[in-house]
Subunit: 223 residues, 2 copies
DNA sequence: TGTGCTGAGACATCGGACGTCTCAGCACAG
DNA sequence: CTGTGCTGAGACGTCCGATGTCTCAGCACA
């Protein structure tokens, strides 16, 4: 195995074993390189790789630190990966979302706070009836993220964020807005919100399913 | 932004835009470095980072290639990230699995081939009644992977693989095997298989839910 | 025709030099 | 005494050039 790969493993082990804890600072590059028995250049490749997936945080002029290792942070890397997928696998991602989103929405129905409900309502009101594509994409993202956050599972939240990130959604919406989908989407959002307000778990789940399924159906017919 | 980060973005763009396709070979390091306007060392950091998450495949003495970009390959990186999570978030990962696994099992019920069913049955028979921990972990992984593969959604399959990889499962099983969980698990596996044989979507979904929930319950009580 | 050698090309690794950035600590003005 | 601004040490950022190692295509020979 290449020395850089070894270094990646060793740093990983140091963190997993607890020798390095979240927020800890690593020895300076030259020291760490000496400890692990490789050159600074090779070590830097390892550090760079770990920093791309948000394990390490390098601050020029300061030092290198272990990140908080929050699921939220680590799963962010997922969206980077998802960006590489082409249209033919978008459907599969959407199918996964169709499984997760209704479940998350149902979970939220029994846990969401009045405050959150009001925030979601205000957001829908602010959007109006004929938003631009960018506004709609942003609002759609915010709306669903707000709900999933209320599910109380941060892993689930980050996963959904990664799976249906801006890029994916934009790609879908680019075509979708040409139909009557805009008003239907807004209507469905309101229905979901109403179900949440009623604390109606099953209604929330069903509306979320309908919501995703309608997108999926459109996408399937247009590919 | 650092030159290396720019390079990562540029290489990503080249792939996403289609200038570089899966399987394509990149220009040699020195050339690419010159094209992107940075040194070979810095470029190498970018390449290493992208190879860690399976976007690029570097072969010493040959060249650097774009991988197949299969969802399966890319989501492999997920398990690397999951390894960093500590016990307190394992429950959240399990909760996500509790959502996905029943859905995947239900999907498999209507699509799985006779051949696959026989393979799963043979695997269960081979395991016997009192397997070792390692055998059980491996068998458990294989069993569920086999089912999820039959769901026909490769993204779902890779995602599940990443979320409940060897490390996570081993961690859970280490404690779980001390109880009567072994025989109960084997029994549940057989029940799931029977439901699949009957093409009984709902029974399959329910057994899968029960299966995960029992693990979750044990885990929750022992933390 | 098949085997084995060989050299070109590409990645692997290293060590050192220099630039840039951050932060703590000191000096000075208010 | 307090707050501002400078300054220098330390750490990361970047680059260069040299050398080692590996892969593969192509040639020579049996």
């Amino acid at each position: 195995m290449a020395v850089t790969d070894e270094a990646i493993e060793k740093i990983k082990d140091m963190i997993v074993s607890g020798a390095l804890r979240p927020g800890d600072r690593l020895p300076k590059e030259s020291e760490l390189a000496a400890d692990l028995g490789l050159s600074r250049n090779s070590l830097r490749e390892a550090v760079r790789a770990l920093s791309l997936i948000r394990i390490l945080d390098v601050r020029q002029g300061d030092g290198t630190y272990v990140t908080s290792l929050d699921p939220q942070l680590l799963l962010e890397a997922l969206s980077f990966v998802v960006d590489f997928h082409r249209d033919d696998t978008v459907l599969e991602f959407l199918a996964v979302r169709r499984i997760l989103e209704p479940a998350a929405t149902a979970m939220a129905a029994s846990r969401i706070s009045e405050q959150q409900l009001d925030a979601l309502g205000a957001q829908l009101d602010k959007l109006g009836d004929s938003p631009s594509v960018e506004e709609l994409v942003a609002a759609d993202l915010d709306f669903h993220r707000g709900i999933v956050q209320s599910s109380g599972n941060s892993v689930l939240c980050s996963l959904m964020d990664g799976l249906s990130g801006p890029t994916t959604r934009a790609r879908i919406w680019r075509g979708l807005t040409q139909e009557d989908a805009v008003s239907r989407t807004l209507h469905e959002h309101r229905a979901i919100l109403a179900a949440l307000r009623d604390r109606d778990t099953e209604a929330a789940r069903s509306w979320a399913t309908v919501h995703i399924a309608s997108v999926e159906q459109w996408l399937r017919s247009s590919l």
